[in-house]
């Protein structure tokens, strides 16, 4: 299954995921995306920047010091929930998502973790 199909499968399984994107954090680029949310390139760039900021200091340093390197972040605001996962083997590979608050977050996080590792390993 290709990257676009993998992302599409996530959106199909979780309609509350309005946008699911695969990004290269090192080059700050969204490489592929799927979902019902209409976005501009500016929106995608901002989402990628937010993913990078999530895995940045000072909270990154606190997490590393206390529990080891983090690979998962959830950011909830008044309007949506953003989920950012980095690959454990290729930390530049990431999935960035924008979801409704009603999403089943435990199941969703588990699903996109599997999807990310599958994409990273070419599965």
């Amino acid at each position: 299954m290709g990257v676009a199909e993998s992302l599409g499968a996530v959106v199909k399984a979780f309609p509350q995921a309005r946008l699911v994107a695969f990004a290269d954090l090192s080059s700050r680029m969204i490489l592929s995306s799927s979902g019902t949310l209409s976005t501009t390139q500016e929106h995608l760039d901002k989402l990628c920047d937010q993913a990078r900021a999530s895995f940045d200091d000072p909270l990154f340093a606190l997490s590393v010091e206390a529990f080891g390197e983090p690979h998962s972040a959830v950011v909830a605001g008044p309007d949506n929930v953003r989920v950012f996962l980095r690959s454990e083997s290729e930390p530049a590979d990431a999935i960035c998502c924008i979801c409704d608050h009603s999403i089943d977050l435990p199941a969703f996080v588990a699903k996109i973790r599997d999807t990310l590792e599958s994409i990273t390993h070419g599965g």
Partner: protein
């Protein structure tokens, strides 16, 4: 599985469970490896139909004694090593307004990674009136514990997200303190800095102290990081950061107005957070 059979299975399992009897007649209901001693405490109370006095002793030092009857906690009759117990001690009957304070005491005595013992004795002041007190089921709902779990607590037996209704969560209190309460026992340590809730804390002293030190050193940088992630500087935002967020430990940080909460979540950080966050924003 038929939901009606769950209490029966849970009770059967409880009866078959190996209990380690300790000198003095008590029994160990949670070992140091038990990830959720609070669940064992509430189940012990929930299985008490006839009026009894239950004394819970933590190997960490604190203890408390409850009069329990008809699956209700009638009153708190003794507390040792538990700051804040005075608001519940000595009352004729615990009422709805006491539930938040009582939950904090239960969480403190049922601290993770410490052995928890229960000793049963005659009830202090009679337990025939079982319409008073706080239902154990209500307390369990507020801390997201399934009383009728049929498997070990560390096994995620069901996929469904079990959280109390938003109205119930909101009733636990507004703002970040209410958010922390609604997070349940998984939020093992936290503190709030800034605003009217400044200085509120819960959890082991060494963890709270570490979080406080971080905020003292990195408070401004943290505000900047949160601003980068929020729609506009100063907007409400809640963030979790961890290896998987589904197990192990995660960092929880939330901001509403001038108040910032920083905490540590043990176990599944994703389970309760969104419902608690939505309620906190109301």
């Amino acid at each position: 599985m038929n939901r009606g059979t769950l209490p029966i299975l849970a009770r059967l399992q409880s009866l078959q469970a190996t209990s380690r009897i300790v000198p003095g007649g008590g029994r160990v209901i949670a070992e140091v490896t038990d990830r959720n001693p609070l669940a064992q405490l509430l189940r012990a109370a929930n299985e008490t139909m006839l009026g009894r006095s239950l004394r819970f002793d933590s190997s960490a030092g604190p203890s408390l004694t409850l009069d329990v009857s008809g699956r209700r906690v009638l009153r708190l009759t003794d507390a040792q090593g538990l700051p804040g117990a005075e608001s519940c001690l000595g009352l004729e009957a615990l009422e709805d307004e006491h539930k938040d304070a009582l939950i904090k005491l239960l969480q403190a005595v049922a601290a993770p990674r410490h052995e928890l013992r229960v000793t049963s004795g005659p009830i202090g002041r009679g337990g025939e009136e079982v319409s008073v007190g706080l239902p154990v089921a209500l307390l369990a709902d507020l801390v997201l514990i399934e009383l009728n779990a049929t498997g070990p607590d560390e096994e995620p037996a069901v996929a469904e997200v079990v959280v109390p209704p938003l109205e119930e969560i909101a009733a636990t209190g507004a703002g970040l303190s209410g958010f922390a309460a609604a997070m349940g026992p998984g939020l093992v340590a936290w503190l709030i800095a800034g605003g009217s809730e400044d200085g509120r804390t819960a959890g082991p002293d060494e963890m709270v102290s570490h979080l406080q030190g971080f905020l003292d050193d990195e408070g401004e940088a943290l505000e900047s990081q949160l601003d980068t992630l929020s729609a506009a500087p100063g907007d409400p935002i809640c963030m979790m950061l961890g290896a998987t967020l589904l197990e192990g430990h995660s960092i929880l940080c939330a901001r509403i107005g001038p108040s910032v909460l920083l905490g540590v979540v043990e176990g599944d950080a994703t389970k309760a957070t969104l419902a608690a966050w939505r309620a906190a924003l109301r």
